[in-house]
Amino acid sequence: MCGIGGIVRTDAAAAVGEAPLRRMAAALGHRGPDGFGLATGLGAGFASTRLAIFDIPGGWQPICTERGALLVYNGEVYNHPELRAELARAGITTRSSTDTEVVLRLLERDGLRALDRLNGQFAFAWWEPRERRLTLVRDRFGVRPLYYAFTPDGSLVFASEAKGLFASGEIAPEPDLVGIDDVFTLWGARAPRSPFRDVHRLGPGSVLVWERGRVVAERTWWSPEYAPAHADEPGQDELEELIRDSVRLRLRADVPVGTYLSGGLDSSLITALARDAAERELHTFSVAFRDARFDERVHQEQVARALGTRHHVLDIAAADIADAFRDVVHHAETPLVRTAPVPLYLLARATRERGITVVATGEGADELFWGYDLFKELALRRQAEFDESALERLDGLYAYLGGSGARRGPGWRRFFAEAGAADDPLVSHQTRAAATSAVKAFYREEVAMELLADDSMERLRAELPTGLERWSELERAAYVELRTLLEPNLLAAQGDRVAMAHGVEGRYPFLDHRVFELSVRLPDHRKLDAELNDKVALREMAANVLPPGIAGRPKQPYRAPEVTPFLGGEATPEWVEEALSPHALRAAGVFDERRVAGLLRRCRSGRATGPREGMALVGILSTQVWHERFFGSAGTGHPEETGTPKVCIDMNVSPEMEVVA
């Protein structure tokens, strides 16, 4: 796992010196705390920071081949030993035992066709100097991030995080209101958009090819397909064998591996399978909350005891969330609508402190096996077309939106009924959009006016893939969920960013593309049955390896306190007062200070207990912090990485790799 960055210039004679690359390396240092490498030359320069997981002494980057092709690479290809053996059979030898070199050799031999062979999570930049061609690639689900931007003359700068782009000095950060509005609709800016103007995110499963100053190709190389040509129904044995294999592959590392254990079905199942496959004692890590409404420690301890793992619990108080919030926004590089990434940031730190740098987690199971309430909502809406009493069951959904089931009723049901037309491909996501959009009521008038012509949902609708009509309604919902919540939010703000902030790599066995492809072939009722039991096939698997109470446990969405860490709790941190002061709100220019003042009064007096206001407070506060970090005084000044690079390639002299240290 690493941070990568680089600059390729339209002018082939324009040098890219060490200084901007060293600044990029410094900005991405947290992603690769074990060292950095550089490649400089005329018309192109690259930087890499490394978290060493495979071939610890020999795996430094950038790497290049005898023909001069160069790769900076962030991620893991888990099947690299098999691919290396295949290359060897074809007479292609590798100098290192890293997956990085396997990827570069495969690319050199097969071009982008090689991507289909890679099982893993990765983002990389492949430079072919003779063609002056840079190819940016991102993994299927978008586990690893990749940002890019263009300078006025068509030069391209890229980095694992936006802060790497800004550190290059090639572009300056500016807010993008449409990107921000995306966050306050579906919890994240949708690729290629980011919350920064003219800063693009390469989409999941996408490739962008830049050649001599212009983009010559931009396409997806993989996208979720729910209606494959060959769709024979898999048995339970096939599913279980595949998930076990995915876990086994994801335990491959030259360092100790652990798991995150939330106490729910998905992470418990992964932990059980990892325990079975691990060669060493398995460490498990859990977040526990002092606020009992969010706490799951009883379930976590039950699983850890039953599986005999070495269990570590991080006890989170409201003040811990406030203390780390600004750093989390800095790493996430986006406004947030939830505080949920903060405990995971603290958990990654604790994990690192215990010497574990790789953790497997349960992400992806809810999207692939239909665990979320939005799938149940959709099923109930359809049942209600024949049996109106089905609507009463809506009262039990979305516990996180507050109010007990008993207090719900017709208003709640109307909320769903009016959330979207039945034939709208986004009907499944109108509920989330409606709830999240509460934040927009606090926009300044001029911001609301500027956004009048834009509609996040309309843009998403217009950009849905062709062929969507071949998928079932639930499959369409799953697709939208992968692209709107999983990639920009769960895998990024709540995944990669908060883990890599401490040099910890998350691995996701459910997001093996083979598991996705098999899940698609499962009949609907093996995912969500008529009684609204979710993740049916996974629960069946779990019943054989987990304590009975866990395999059948209803989903408890992972959440963290939202208002009390900041206002109306034990103490209000000074920085919160400052960030939400009228002058700071005016300076950021997104939210109206008088509207916000009313919200703050309610938060301080403990009356802001509903979901609207919690989300609004987190949205406003994170926007303020984000603005200060990237556009205020905190965002200026980009120090250079001053250490000695582990690799320093002068691309003007020789294509051969030169190992300095």
């Binding site: 939106l401 109010g403 207090r407 719900r408 009723g409 017709p410 208003g411 709640w412 049901r413 109307r414 909320f415 009016e418 959330a419 409606a434 709830a435 959009s437 509460a438 009521a441 606090f442 008088r594 509207r595 003042a597 009313g598 919200l599 009064r601 309610r602 009356r607 509903g610 979901p611 609207r612």
Partner: protein, 95 residues
């Protein structure tokens, strides 16, 4: 109906109007610091409520006044203004 009954009803209606106005002002109108809520203001046109806010309003009416709001009753006629809500609650409230 004698005069005292009429006055009592009038006072109850006034109290109801005050309570509902206060609830809406405290919970929703803080986002519109310049607006003073009038009993006939068109709540839909004011766009004070997003859909979750509307759920909160219905829940409050049900809880505070001990009435059950049926699905078909959630309409502009009953919830379009403070006065509309007052009339609806007054008619449905247990006496």
């Amino acid at each position: 109906m004698n005069r005292n009954d009429t006055m009592t009803r009038g006072a109850q209606t006034d109290q109801l109007r005050d309570e509902i106005s206060l609830f809406i002002t405290e919970n929703f109108l803080y986002m519109r610091p310049d607006h003073v809520l009038r009993p006939d203001d068109d709540l839909l046109r004011l766009a004070l409520f997003d859909s979750l806010g509307f759920i909160e309003l219905i829940e409050e009416i049900q809880d505070r006044y001990g009435i059950e709001v049926r699905d078909i009753e959630i309409n502009e006629e009953n919830f379009g203004s403070v006065n509309a809500i007052v009339s609806f609650v007054a008619a449905r409230r247990p006496t």
